[in-house]
C-alpha cells in the first residue's frame, strides 16, 4: 500500500529471499512481528483499543474506537436487529502519500474490508441482541479506526485493534417497559440507564474473526509483510477466520496482478492454521492489556519504556 521506491537490486534481493524462505529481517515466510496491544484508552467511547505491529516499538499503528448510539427505526429497515457502521481513516501523518486527498482510495478500501469482516452475521456479533424495541429503536455500533503509522500490514493491525475494541465494548443497560397509552394500546418505551458502572458487554464477541494477510512476492507468499516487502508484492489477500475455524471473509487487494488459483487454495489452508496461532497470541495480549488497564497505576520502568508503552 505504501509507495516506497526500491532499486531493482533491492527488489531482486527481497524476491529471491522470499522464494528461498528467508526474508530480509531473518523471518520465515509465515513468521509475524511483535505486537503491542492496549485497550480502554478512549474513556468516552464504549470500547477502544490501539494495536501496533512491528519491531522495537516502531510499526503499523492503528487506533479503534467503538461508539454505540440509539437509532430510531425507519420503515424499510430490518425490524429486529441492530447495525454496525465501520469507518477507517488513514491519518496524513502516517505516510507521505496520505497527505491532502491521497488517502481517499485506501480509506474506502479499508472501510469496505472492515465492513466485510465485521458487519453482518459472519462477524459473530449478535445483532438481534442489539435491537432494543423491534420496529422502534436499536443500537448502532460505530466502529471508527484511525491509522496512525504505516510500516507494512495495515490490514491485520486494523483487524486486531477492531477485535480488541469490540471485545472491550460494553453498552449501557436498557430498561424496556410496556405502558398502556390513552387508547388502551400497549406501547413499549425504553430508557437507557445512565450509570457508568451499570454496563453489559457486547454479546457474541467470542466469535469475532481474526485476519491473516498474505502478500504474493515472486512465486511465493509471506504473512505480515514489511513496508519494503509490500513495495515488491504483486497482490495481497486477506482471509478472516473465526475461532470456529470457518472462513468469514476474503478480500484481495493489490492492483498489479492476479493470484494463481493453485496458490489460492494453499493460502486458504494455511490461513486457518495461522489463524489458530494468532487467536492464541491475541488472547495472551488481550488479557495482558486488560490487566494493565485494571492496574492503572503502573510504575514505568525506565529501562526501555519507549519500546513498550504507546
Amino acid at each position: 500500500m505504501a509507495s516506497l521506491i526500491l532499486s531493482p537490486a533491492e527488489q531482486d534481493f527481497i524476491i529471491r529471499g522470499v522464494e528461498s524462505g528467508l526474508r530480509a529481517d531473518g523471518r520465515g515466510s509465515l513468521d509475524r512481528r511483535e505486537v503491542s496491544l492496549r485497550t480502554g484508552m478512549i474513556s468516552q467511547a464504549n470500547g477502544s483499543a490501539r494495536c501496533r505491529i512491528g519491531n522495537l516499538g516502531v510499526g503499523t499503528d492503528v487506533l479503534v474506537g467503538v461508539k454505540a448510539e440509539v437509532n430510531t427505526w425507519a420503515p424499510g429497515e430490518p425490524e429486529d436487529v441492530g447495525s454496525v457502521v465501520c469507518n477507517v481513516e488513514c491519518s496524513p501523518s502516517a505516510a507521505q502519500e496520505f497527505e491532502g486527498r491521497g488517502a481517499e482510495e485506501i480509506n474506502v478500501e479499508l472501510t469496505q474490508l472492515l465492513d466485510r469482516i465485521f458487519n453482518g452475521p459472519q462477524s459473530g456479533i449478535d445483532l438481534k441482541k442489539l435491537c432494543i424495541i423491534p420496529k422502534q429503536a436499536y443500537w448502532v455500533l460505530h466502529i471508527d479506526a484511525l491509522v496512525l503509522d504505516v510500516k507494512g500490514n495495515i490490514v491485520d493491525t486494523l483487524v486486531w485493534a477492531t477485535r480488541a475494541a469490540l471485545l472491550s465494548t460494553s453498552l449501557p443497560r436498557v430498561v424496556v417497559e410496556t405502558i398502556a397509552d390513552e387508547m388502551g394500546n400497549m406501547q413499549a418505551e425504553f430508557d437507557v440507564v445512565d450509570d457508568p458502572e451499570d454496563l453489559t458487554p457486547l454479546e457474541g464477541t467470542e466469535r469475532l474473526p481474526i485476519s491473516v494477510t498474505f502478500s504474493q512476492i515472486g512465486k511465493r507468499y509471506v504473512v505480515d509483510a514489511s513496508e519494503q516487502e509490500e513495495a515488491v508484492a504483486q497482490a495481497r489477500i486477506t482471509v478472516a477466520v473465526s475461532p470456529a475455524m470457518e472462513i468469514c471473509a476474503i478480500q484481495k487487494g493489490g492492483i498489479l496482478r492476479g493470484f494463481p488459483p493453485s496458490l489460492l487454495s494453499e493460502i486458504l489452508q494455511t490461513a486457518q492454521r495461522i489463524a489458530r496461532e494468532e487467536l492464541t497470541r491475541f488472547g495472551t495480549h488481550y488479557s495482558q492489556a486488560e490487566r494493565q488497564l485494571a492496574s492503572q497505576a503502573e510504575e514505568p520502568n525506565t529501562g526501555s519504556t519507549f519500546l513498550v508503552t504507546f
Binding site: 537490486a9 528467508l22 529481517d25 512481528r33 511483535e34 522495537l56 519500546l307 513498550v308
Partner: protein, 286 residues
Amino acid sequence: MEIDEQPQRMDVAARIVTPGTAITSDTAFMRGHGTFAEHDTIYSSVAGVVERINKLVSVRPLKQRYSGEIGDIIVGRITEVASKRWRVDVNSRQDGVLLLSSINLPGGIQRRKSESDELQMRSFFAEGDLVFAEVQSYFADGALSLHTRSIQYGKLRNGTLVTAFPQLVPRSRSHFHILPCGVDVVLGVNGYIWVSKHVPASTVEANAELIYSDKNESISDDEREVIARVANCIQLLNRLYVKITDTSIIFAYEASLAHAAKDLLTRDVATELAHNVMTRLEQQQA
C-alpha cells in the same frame, strides 16, 4: 567574571533538557542554537544536552536532520532524473545533486562525456537506485553536490538498506567495512546504511563495464542469513541509541549468535544485546 561568584545563576553544566526548561537567568550569557529568551531567562527550545563554550549557551538536540559537510561519505537514493544531473534523497532537509560530470563513466575513468551519455542517463542511475557517494561541495542554496569519482563508489547491489539516526553514525576514516562474518557494510553518515554480500574487489575492477548493472550476484541461504543478522543488529543498535561503528556492529553480531536472526528485533533480546554491546565498548575504552 567568575561563574561561581553569582549565587542566583543556574548551573549551566552539561545536562539534559526538554523544550521549555529554563537554563539560566544570568544576562552574562549569550544564547546560541536551540534556545530562546523570554525576558531575562534563556530557555531551551529543543530536547537535548546543554553546551557551554565561554559565554555562549546552546543546546545540542538529540534528534537532528542530517546536514552534510564536505567530504562526508553518504548513501543516497535517486529520486529524479533531470537534465545532466540526478536528484538524490540524502535524508536531509534538501535533496542532494549528483551531476553527470561527477560520475564515473563505464569504459574507464578517463572516458570523455558524450552527448549520448546525457540522453541515456537512466542507463547509469534510474529513480530508486541506491548510490554510494561523497559530498564534494555545496550549491548556492545549500544543497549537497555529490560525486562518485572513485572505484569504490557507485551503485549499490547485493544487499539491503537499514535506516538509522544520522547522529549515531560518527564520521571516521573509513565508511566501507568488510566484516569478519563475510558481509560488507557501508555506513552512510546520513544514516542510510547498506549491508551486502561481500564481493571481492578484484571482481569489481575486472568488470568496469558492469559498474551500473542492476543484477545481483547469486546469494546463498547462509549469506542471506548473515546479511539479515547484521541488518537486524544495526536496527537494534539504532533503536537503543548506541553509536553505529564497525566495532559496535561486530560486538552486536557476536552477541547475537546465541539467538535466531528473527528474534533479534524482539524487545527483550534487543535490550539485552544493546547492553552487552555498550558494556564491551566501555571496557574497550577503559
